[in-house]
């Protein structure tokens, strides 16, 4: 399966006499985890993501264990002489798919982001939002081991944002690592495994006590059967056995589809008794910000 991507004492500056943009960064991104990177503007978030995506080589330190990587930039004004579907097919093959697979995946992802009407539109004529959908689709279509999202939600409409949230959930459920930056502090809240803050040119892990603690909308799933499999438990906020053989799971809404699919296809399949909107898992007062 995928290996863990490790940054050891990584620093990055542009030019041998340039200012250090980031320095002394130690970071491990394990397979199947969702990592959020925060920081004020101009602190080096994008540089860190470029190093994570393999676009920038570290000026010092080491990066090891890189899985197959995909990157989504914040803006994708790609005035390339391709149609949306043609471009995605090319990118799919660059990601390692065969041409028919890539063409199929391109259609499927354009459809998922409700952009199939633009499949034959030249990239140069796409709106900003549709361009961003193409940028997101090229990263998702090859199911990368590491997905790096630099404010990828910016410019997407609400439906596409939700779809991207779900796609991120599916990626981590399938064992891929996802690292993202987004200006919305509630983005994927409740599903994030680690939050790192870029400050003063280095990276600090936010301790759980000061975690966002503003979990997004959750869903309660009641299932019957043996205890839920570990890949499901990884996506749940809380899991309690309310009665023998009955489990109540609280799941971030973005991951509900993935959790239900995992439960229904588990061996033995679990019986889903009830799915309902839930209040987020309660925090002890004081840690709530």
């Amino acid at each position: 399966m995928h290996r863990e991507l490790r940054l050891r004492d990584v620093g990055r500056r542009y030019g041998p006499r340039g200012r250090w943009v980031i320095r002394h960064v130690d970071l491990a991104v394990a397979p199947g985890t969702l990592t959020r990177v925060e920081g004020a503007n101009g602190t080096g978030k994008s540089t860190l993501l470029r190093v994570l995506a393999g676009l920038d080589a570290p000026s010092e330190g080491r990066v090891s264990g890189r899985p197959r990587t995909a990157y989504v930039p914040e803006r994708f004004p790609a005035a390339l002489p391709f149609t949306a579907a043609g471009y995605l097919t090319h990118l799919g093959t660059v990601h390692g798919l065969s041409r028919p697979e890539a063409a199929r995946a391109a259609r499927a992802w354009l459809e998922r982001f409700d952009a199939d009407a633009h499949a034959g539109t030249p990239l140069a004529r796409l709106s900003k939002g549709s361009s961003q959908k193409v940028a997101v689709a090229q990263a998702l279509l090859a199911e990368p081991g590491l997905l790096v999202l630099d404010e990828a939600w910016t410019g997407l409409d609400t439906a596409a944002r939700d779809e991207l949230d779900r796609a991120v959930g599916e990626r981590t459920a399938a064992g891929g690592a996802v690292v993202f930056v987004d200006h919305d502090p509630r983005r994927l809240a409740g599903a994030v495994d680690a939050v790192w803050t870029v400050a003063d040119g280095t990276l600090v892990r936010r301790t759980p006590a000061e975690d966002p603690s503003e979990p997004g909308p959750c869903v309660t799933v009641v299932v019957q059967g043996p205890p839920p499999p570990p890949d499901v438990l990884r996506m749940t906020a809380t899991a309690t056995e309310t009665a023998p053989g009955t489990h109540r799971l609280t799941v971030p809404a973005t991951h509900s589809d993935t959790v239900l699919r995992a439960l229904l296809t588990a061996d033995p399949p679990r019986h889903v008794v009830r799915v309902a909107p839930a209040t987020p898992p309660t925090d002890t007062p004081g840690t709530h910000r």
């Binding site: 920038d56 197959r68 390339l80």
Partner: protein
């Protein structure tokens, strides 16, 4: 790598940015190559003209993508490999163009020396022309790679540097391109077809070095 090459080739072909250098090269040939001229002279002329064209094609391929699109491909394939694909596609395009020029020149040229009396065997002459074309394509690729991103970023410096380097590569003694072209011209005077293998080897080495340098710097320079 095949997928990257297909992508870059499609990008170059569909962008139609190859048209200006190709048209200019065709005009260059139309002006300088006439039916009945000694074939080795014309081949030398065709090869020399291809060097700046190859450098220009490299520039077109390297600057063909907006930074965001380049980043997306570089993440998927690695920045060095993505850059290598740009250079290879440009060199291949220049080679196709040069091969067409050699065929054309061999057909319209007269298989004689400069004195219009000594016979020059046509097929070996065309072969020598093809080798000289390869030398110029390789050196042009090196010039293009060394005068574009990631080595030179601002267009204001890169374009004059490209023109100057291309000119120097053609005239400075010791340059493989100069040696290959010179070999064809003196071969035409003496009526002996040269075999520019040494310039070819030197050009291959130089270009490999330039390509390795450019590819290694892609992840180190600012985007």
């Amino acid at each position: 790598m095949t997928a990257l090459l297909r992508y870059q080739a499609a990008l170059l072909l569909r962008s139609q940015r190859w048209l200006p250098p190709v048209i200019l090269y065709a005009a260059f040939l139309a002006v300088g190559v006439q039916a009945g001229q000694p074939v080795l002279d014309s081949l030398g002329y065709a090869a020399a003209g291809l060097l700046p064209v190859a450098a220009w094609l490299v520039r077109i391929c390297v600057t063909g993508e907006p930074p965001a699109a380049r980043a997306v491909v570089a993440a998927a394939a690695g920045p060095a490999r993505a850059h290598l694909a740009c250079l290879l596609v440009a060199a291949a395009t220049a080679t196709v163009l040069g091969t067409a020029a050699v065929v054309l020149v061999s057909l319209v040229g007269d298989p004689v020396g400069t004195d219009h009396r000594t016979r020059v065997p046509l097929l070996p002459a065309a072969g020598a022309g093809l080798l000289a074309v390869l030398v110029c394509v390789l050196l042009g690729t090196a010039v293009g790679a060394l005068t574009a991103w990631p080595l030179l970023r601002s267009t204001g410096r890169a374009v004059p540097a490209l023109l100057l380097a291309a000119l120097l590569a053609l005239v400075v003694t010791g340059s493989p391109a100069q040696a290959a072209v010179e070999g064809l011209v003196t071969g035409s005077q003496s009526g002996k077809v040269p075999l520019p293998l040494l310039p070819l080897a030197a050009a291959a080495l130089l270009t490999a070095g330039a390509t390795a340098l450019a590819c290694a710097l892609t992840a180190r320079r600012a985007p």
